[in-house]
Amino acid sequence: MRIVISKRAPLPGWIQLLVPVGAILVTLALSAIPILVAGGDLLLSYTSLFKGALGTRYNFLETCVKAAPLTFTGLAVAFAFRAKFWNIGAEGQLLAGAIAAAWVGIYAPPLPKALVLLLVCVAGFIAGGAWATIPALLKTRYRVDDVVTTLLLNYVMWHIMGYLLFGPLQMPGSSWPRSPAVEAIARFPILLARSRFHLGVVLALIAVAVVWFINAKTVFGYEARAVGVNQRAAAFGGINVNSVIMRTALLSGGLAGMAGVGEVVAIHFHLLMDISPGFGYSGIVIAMLGRLHPVGVALSAFFFSVVIVGAQSMSRLTGVPVYIAEVIQGMALMVMLIALLLTEYRIKAVRS
């Protein structure tokens, strides 16, 4: 037996759009296996998952809130992958953004609120972006593999944060690794009463539009795509590949940094060691499931937010460990990969 894979004629657009939906359905069906192994009741598990995430106004808004950082990291990864800059470092860039936002927020200057918020965002964006330009520089100048450096730098930033939280940024009088609270003036306003729906959610949606605009309407977006499709051809076509990679890294890291900003100035109000439960890594799954398209990223970020928020009430009601959310994320990525393959290739098993 041998697997033979052959190209198929391009499928119509509507099938292409259905692929992620199909992948999600298959993933949810496959999730039955770990749920059953954990002894959870299937019907109750699925209903509690969706009710927990979407059942009430508060839960629905909570899912939107959780989707914001996931959208930012998803956009960050998607934009980088589109240019074949393998940024697996969204986690570290998120932390860099969170640290910068906390710093500005704790020592907020006496300015109008709008200016302080702008300052917080700019600081977080630049910190994340700057952190991402290190692997980009190493890639373009020294040909160091970007996968490895972006991954390793996640741990470096985590330890830098640890140093700050046990040192200069530690709350006075506290023995825990946590910073003082950010000033009220530096906090994102809550936009809908009786919820945590904050400015950052809207910023995430704006970021979706901005990334779409950059991709579709700007020279930079075109160049980034060209570099991703074929770097040598792009260089022959007169594109400064190194400059494009650097700018891609800056934008990608900046977007990831914004995820950290929201977590500090809208959710936790302190910088904490566990400020991110792996949002940066989830961004990889979200980017792939969203087919690297900004709107797709937003939709798949929402889906994963449903899974993450819903898994908590599923866990409470059925006893299935809350880590089911991570298992589902991992399965979704692999199912999506296979689904994408099926849209481009026919797979046949033949007797050899």
């Binding site: 697997i3 033979v4 894979i5 052959s6 770990p34 192994v37 954990a38 393998w86 697996i88 190493l138 020294y142 040909r143 160091v144 593999d145 996968v147 490895v148 450096t149 991954l151 390793l152 730098l153 996640n154 741990y155 470096v156 330890h159 830098i160 640890g162 140093y163 046990f166 040192g167 890594y281 990889i284 799954v285 792939m288 460990p321 880590y323 089911i324 959310a325 991570e326 298992v327 589902i328 994320q329 991992g330 399965m331 990525l333 692999m334 990969l337 296979i338 393959l341 797979i347």
Partner: protein
């Protein structure tokens, strides 16, 4: 300063270096096998975590440490089969397949561990491996206790280095592996099963990664914590590049990393007034710096990252 220069300190430092390096040596050797056959296995971090978890639970349940090690190897092989289905047989992006394996395995490891032990206040522990002194050699001053009074798995890791060198450079299997990694089309022409060879290498590599993970929960420590691997898999990926895809040089890199890791622990233990997080960062930063030094000269197997589809040639 005089505390640093004592014989006891140096012996302890070298012994700790061996302990810190061992999981990375296993993982680096495993990854070299995969990459020499043309498969970048980014599932390494997750496979190590699953190995650590499976080995720990097996030993917790059966009381047998070696059964734990065997279970860790077996789970590494199973996850590698998934990896090779995606990246070898279906020819999907090796980057994304590997990350998928890591994300899936990470979730699964936490899920299964929580399912098996619940959430007790004190995590369960096993009675870990004890050191085995090699007669005579362990009595050599300074280095004897460091190198020859170690866990069996440390000796195993060191013995695997020449064994894998022999396999890769001195056997016809090794030639097949290297040919598949460098030029799969040529390998196919002379009748080597490209995907079969790649699958076997990924499986063997996965077993080593699993054992590397199990070393952390069965010898280095005696419990399973969610961040027990802590990026050691990524360090191994870096060591493969640092060692230019050669088992001996990759192992040397792992030993240097182990030395830095041991040094930061020891200096911290002596109460040097330096924040320990800055110490923890040193091995990672040094690894990145080392990569800058070697990357221009690095020569990856030419077939790395390229799926092999006979139908797509010519």
């Amino acid at each position: 300063m005089e505390q640093v220069l004592t014989v006891a300190f140096i012996t302890g430092l070298l012994a700790a270096m061996m302990r810190m390096a061992t999981p990375i040596i296993f993982a680096t050797l495993g990854e070299i096998l995969c990459e020499r056959a043309g498969v970048l296995n980014l599932g390494i971090e997750g496979i190590m975590l699953m190995g650590a978890m499976t080995g720990f639970l097996t030993t917790l349940g059966t009381g047998s440490l070696w059964l734990g090690v065997a279970a860790a190897a077996a789970v590494g092989v199973l996850l590698s089969l998934l990896m090779s289905l995606l990246a070898v047989h279906l020819g999907l992006s090796q980057h994304v397949s590997g990350l998928g394996i890591t994300l899936f395995s990470t979730g699964l490891a936490m899920f299964v561990y929580r399912l098996a032990v619940g959430s007790p206040v004190n995590p369960p522990t096993v009675r870990p491996f004890t050191q085995v002194a090699i007669p005579f050699l362990s009595e050599i001053p300074v280095v004897g206790q460091a190198f020859f009074n170690q866990y069996s798995l440390v000796y195993l890791a060191l013995l695997l280095v020449p064994a894998i060198c022999f396999l890769l450079y001195r056997t016809s299997w090794g030639l097949s592996i290297r040919t598949v990694g460098e030029n799969p089309f040529a390998a196919d022409t002379v009748g080597i099963g490209v995907n079969k060879t790649r699958t076997l290498c990924v499986m063997a590599g996965g077993a080593l990664m699993g054992v590397g993970g199990a070393f952390l929960t069965l010898a280095h420590q005696n419990m399973f914590l969610i961040d027990v691997i802590g990026g050691r898999g990524w360090i191994a990926i870096a060591m493969v590049i640092f060692g230019n895809w050669d088992p001996v040089r990759g192992t040397a890199g792992a030993l240097i990393f182990g030395f830095l890791d041991a040094l930061q622990l020891r200096l911290q233990g002596l109460g040097f007034d330096v924040p320990f997080h800055l110490f923890l960062v040193i091995p990672y930063v040094m690894t990145v710096v080392a990569l800058v030094g070697v990357s221009r000269r690095a020569s990856a197997p030419a077939g790395l990252l390229k799926p092999y589809r006979r139908e797509e040639k010519g």
